[in-house]
């Protein structure tokens, strides 16, 4: 849908953006996926909180819920949520490097170095936590 400014002065053509604008460029699509990833991160967090709440209801109730998490629907959700969580984290660290300027004396740390450092720290911490639970 398009509109024209018919008021006094030259007739100005004003094109309107299509609702599918975010499908027309890869970077816009990736931006929308970054925004969408928040939904999956939030859903995963809510599910985790609910699981913790069920712990207070005793081992039987908690066990039944854990059993239900093995259904294909939940497994699919966890796979998708994991992919979006990784994407969310990577893009968050990339964004943080643009926002936060780190200065050491007169030297300014390049953004890529901040992102790389955060990603390495994230990988080490994730590995340590995963190792702790797998070893338990």
């Amino acid at each position: 849908m398009e509109r024209h400014d018919q008021s006094q002065g030259p007739k100005i053509h004003r094109p309107e953006m299509s609702p599918t604008w975010w499908l027309k460029k890869r970077s816009y699509f990736l931006f929308m996926m970054r925004e969408l990833s928040s939904v999956f991160v939030a859903a995963f967090a809510l599910l985790l909180l609910y699981e913790l709440f069920l712990l207070s209801k005793g081992p039987e109730v908690y066990g039944l819920f854990q059993e239900s998490l093995r259904r294909p629907g939940f497994i699919l959700f966890y796979v998708v949520a994991f992919v979006f969580s990784v994407y969310h984290t990577v893009t968050w660290f990339q964004a943080a490097a643009k926002i936060q300027v780190v200065k050491l004396g007169s030297w300014t740390m390049p953004g890529w170095m901040m992102t790389a450092g955060a990603l390495v720290a994230w990988a080490i911490l994730s590995g340590a936590i995963a190792g702790y639970f797998l070893a338990a």
């Binding site: 100005i12 053509h13 816009y28 643009k98």
Partner: protein
């Protein structure tokens, strides 16, 4: 001049006769050292003098020749035909702006927003000229230099979907320039700009798509400027709550 040719598909809109834009194809000589602006000038000089577009310096400084070239916001003076040859080149007016005629877009909205952020040094008091200039250290210059390179070409507005969807958004270049002056050690206009840049149509409208920084021909980073302004504004707000006696 070679015998090779290239087709320029130019968006035409003549308000006195067109209800909406359409494309007109021009087959013109191809030269490897021509930029898109050279091709438009050739059309204007030898093929169709009714084609209307803006240009001035032809060296990436004036910022007046921004158009969409094959769907991407570009300066026509810095975009070579050889990047597209032998395929046709589609030239359209910048996205997200009203079209006055052919490739000429309406600047009024941008100019109003640019003016609103006071993109110049604001002082509480001016010292007499005989006392000399306001001096800066290289470190103070480095704080804002990147953001001072903006040429107001509006490519960033054209790439910004927030500006396209929410016309009230002050937009990348104006906010980057506000940030530039807020960082300038000689400037005292932070408070005067705050009510504009921290308004509902200012920095908080930005969702950090980041395309403004990608398309900038001068490597200014408006997306970073806006996010850093968000941080500075938030810090200032917390400070005013926790330490109201300290001022901004």
């Amino acid at each position: 001049m070679t015998d090779n040719t290239i087709t320029l598909s130019v968006a035409r809109y003549r308000p006195e006769q067109d209800s909406e834009p359409h494309f007109q194809d021009y087959e013109i000589p191809y030269r490897e050292d021509w930029v898109v602006l050279d091709a438009l000038n050739y059309i204007k000089d030898y093929v169709d003098d009714s084609v209307t577009y803006r240009w001035s310096c032809r060296m990436g400084v004036c910022g007046s020749c921004g158009t969409m070239v094959n769907g991407e916001p570009k300066l026509t003076c810095a975009t070579f035909l050889r990047e597209y040859y032998p395929n046709p080149v589609r030239v359209e007016p910048l996205n997200n702006f009203g079209v006055v005629r052919d490739l000429v877009v309406d600047l009024d909205d941008f100019m109003a927003k640019l003016t609103a952020v006071k993109p110049y040094i604001v002082r509480d008091d001016e010292k007499p000229v005989e006392e000399g200039e306001y001096r800066q250290t290289p470190e103070e210059l480095a704080e804002y230099k990147q953001f001072s390179l903006c040429i107001n070409c509006m490519l960033c507005y054209s790439a910004c979907p927030v500006y396209g969807l929410e016309g009230g958004f002050i937009g990348p270049a104006a906010l980057a320039l506000a940030h530039r002056y807020n960082l300038d050690s000689r400037d005292k206009g932070n408070d005067e700009r705050a009510h504009v840049i921290a308004s509902s149509e200012g920095i908080w409208e930005c969702t950090f798509v980041g395309e403004c920084s990608v398309v900038c021909p001068k490597n200014v980073d408006p997306a970073a400027a806006i996010q850093r302004t968000k941080v500075a504004t938030t810090q200032s707000w917390f400070k005013s709550i926790l330490m109201p006696w300290a001022g901004r």
